[in-house]
Amino acid sequence: MSAVTAFLANRWVRLGVFGVVLVVLGVLPLIADPFTNQTIARIAVFAVAVLGLNIVMGYTGQVSLGQIFFVGVGAYCAAIPIRAWWGTDVYTWSIVIGLVLAIVVPGVIGLLVALAAARLRGLAIAMITIALPIIGVPLAKRFSDLTGGNEGLSVRRLPYGEGDAAGVGNPFAAPAGSGLANDQWQYYLVLLIAIIVFVLAYFLVRGRYGRAFAIVRENEAVAASMGISPYRYKVLSFTIAAVFGGIAGFLYIVALQYTSSETLSFGHSIELVIATIVGGAGSIVGSILGGAFYVLIPQITNALQLSDYTLVAQGVIILLVLFLLPGGLASLPRTIRRLARRRRGAHSVDAGDPAGSASVTTQHQVPTSKERNT
């Protein structure tokens, strides 16, 4: 076991694993059927949303129930300019404008909300963030000229019947000459942006900010005594979560090309929180697993024609994770390692495993000595 851990701790091996994963992800869509590509793209969309939530919940320890609001706003920010300008002179730029707006607008809203919310602690913050999806749906319906209201907004334009249509077609169709199918093109676009976001998040939580977030999570008074302003770092983590949510909204439009007021509804926000906990709070890999949980469980129950039991299946998994893996699915290897070590410890006195435990603490910046209460 320790040999494996030591092997995995090697920087080159880890870089190699990352490279192999990248290559597999890069080549896979060329082989896989369209539905697999679409599924992976959707997992990436929600993995980014869950990652944002993880920054604020897992790493900084603040409960946010409003993440879906930022996803929904990001989706509108992407869809509205693309729909308005697709086919005009600025058509390729409309996608870039959509992406920029999907980052800036949710970020600014997140910052403003956080400036107020981060003055509070614990459940009070959760209460403030609940307000976002609750006002989001009626707000989107009220401005239905812009958002399409309940009927929603599709960025695909059909070649008839829509008099205001500037351009016709699917803005996220594969460009002519690329030799790719639409599902492959969308896959690459979503994965490229998602991987950039994940790499940024990886360096963020491992660096100075990540350590500051962890201290704020463990004890705000200690943080303040060390010269780390809990308020400032809570605002920062909220804003980053909002930006990631907005990017997930843009990716949502790339993958599905449609959004509506229903996207913002409160229930989906809770589903994201659950996905974060099931995947693993305070874990980058956990965010991916959370996205996979969000997308795959309904898909599997559909495939088995047992979709009436989707909620039951999700509930069972949530309970199992909470009881057996409080650190989420991402903590499974860690739990197995600990169990193996405990068993070995029973047989020999040599229970201490310096290499192994050292790698555990470097692998996860946060202390693993005690189970984190997420």
């Binding site: 490279g19 192999v20 290559v23 009220r142 309940n150 449609y258 996207t263 229930g267 989906h268 309904p298």
Partner: protein, 425 residues
């Protein structure tokens, strides 16, 4: 020495990564060859989801969550109808072959993102056609995708008129009358009364409520004796409409046009008006007019108000005459046999609507001469004068802009159920 070593390691990593890339790239996705080969000339290439013995139908609808009750009904009605037909040996299609109908159901939780994903799954599962699903955003989210893929999206249960627009290359069709038709049915009956009326309007501020109000206003546009004295709206997330009801009661209007889709709000409003001593004539939309689900819980009897009217297009399974008719008995037996567990077939009208939709699909199956989606859609949109069980009027699918079911009948509450009427008053 160190740099050389790490340089060599980097090279090794890059080499192994490159090798894996080459291996994976070797097995690129095989493109399906175009179906214009010489051997199939003469015979038509069948669409996906249809064989000589089966046809697969996909339904994406809310099976869990807040809308699960009506959502499960949209599957169960069709499952019951086709289950019975399959047990009898199947349906004889227009091309002479007898096929059984398989239904694949997909849960969308009334979440447009899930229904769009469900459509991708339906394409992967190779369904022939999709439809009968409930909800405006959940059907809208994959409309363009379905048109692009050439998958018929038919008999959807939404009052959104866009699905009934006929355009070349577009294979969509709505099942239920659009909201405007219901509002218009009440307006016309009110005009036919000939008496002056003062109308108070309360509507949900979305396409649903606005559609009802639009239909109503259009129908009374030329009638000067009818005036709208006050219009108030609410957001669908509202918890109480007491404020609106009090304000409308103060106008003393003798008619209340009540375009409210939320069950608890409708019950509370019916109680509130009585408590305020305001007794207008009521108009209720078809989905909040159920005697058992709305009026009885609200304590409304035949004498509470001068009249409670609703627009309907299908017989109510909860009404006693329905269960006594042979068709009704066959319907309940089929629901019990083929419906989902716990389905009684009468708590929500959508079960009967789905049963009607299945009959319309059967008509199209019997008329389609080729095993293709195009032939199916052509057959589906050329049905005229078809008397479907439990439908109030003949089905005509040939009219541009109209869904399959068009006959909307105004009904008056008589204390137990509804009776059809032509004139208000």
């Amino acid at each position: 020495m160190k740099t050389t070593l790490s340089g060599r390691r980097a090279l090794a990593v890059a080499a192994s990564v490159g090798a894996i890339a080459l291996v994976l790239a070797g097995c690129a996705r095989g493109e399906t060859p175009p179906a214009d080969g010489g051997e199939t000339s003469g015979a038509v290439e069948p669409s996906p989801g249809i064989t000589d013995t089966t046809l697969t139908l996909g339904i994406s609808t809310p099976l869990t969550g807040g809308t699960a009750g009506p959502g499960n009904c949209t599957v169960d009605g069709a499952a019951a109808y086709f289950g019975t037909k399959n047990a009898e040996g199947g349906i004889t299609f227009g091309d002479g072959k007898t096929r059984e109908i398989e239904i694949l159901k997909y849960d969308d939780e009334y979440n447009p993102e899930k229904s769009a994903a469900n459509f991708q799954q339906m394409v992967a599962d190779g369904v022939f056609a999709a439809g009968l699903g409930l909800g405006t955003p959940t059907n809208r989210s994959w409309r363009e995708a379905a048109i692009d893929e050439g998958v018929p999206q038919v008999l959807v249960m939404t009052g959104d008129p866009i699905f009934s627009e006929r355009e070349p290359g577009v294979m969509t069709l709505g099942l239920v009358p659009v909201y405007m038709q219901e509002g218009a049915a009440f307006g016309e009956a009110l005009v036919a009364d000939g008496q002056p009326h003062q109308v108070a309007v309360l509507y949900q501020n979305d396409d649903y409520g606005q559609g009802y109000v639009q239909g109503f206003k259009d129908s009374i546009a030329d009638a000067s004796q009818i005036t709208i004295v006050k219009e108030l709206s609410y957001e669908p997330s509202a918890q109480s409409l007491e404020g609106q009801m009090t304000e409308l009661a103060a106008t003393g209007a003798d008619v209340l046009f009540h375009a409210v889709s939320v069950t608890p709000l409708a019950i509370a409003d019916l109680q509130k008006a009585a408590a305020l001593g305001w007794t207008p004539i009521w108009f209720l939309p078809s989905n909040t007019a159920s005697p058992g689900g709305i009026l009885t819980p609200a304590g409304v009897t035949a004498d509470t108000y001068p009249g409670v009217y609703a627009a309907g297009f299908a017989e109510a399974a909860a009404a006693p005459p329905f269960a006594e008719s042979p068709e009704g008995q066959a319907y309940f037996e089929a629901i019990a046999e083929y419906g989902s567990a716990g389905q009684d077939g009468k708590s929500f009208p959508h079960c009967v609507w789905s049963w009607i939709g299945a009959q319309i699909l059967e008509q199209a199956f019997m008329k389609m001469t080729e095993p293709t989606r195009e032939s199916f859609y052509e057959a589906l949109t050329s049905i005229t004068d078809f008397d479907a069980q439990f439908s109030f009027g003949p089905i005509d699918t040939t009219i541009d802009g109209s869904p399959a079911v068009q006959t909307v009948v105004l009904q008056k509450f008589n204390g137990a159920g509804y009776a059809n009427v032509d004139v208000v008053g």
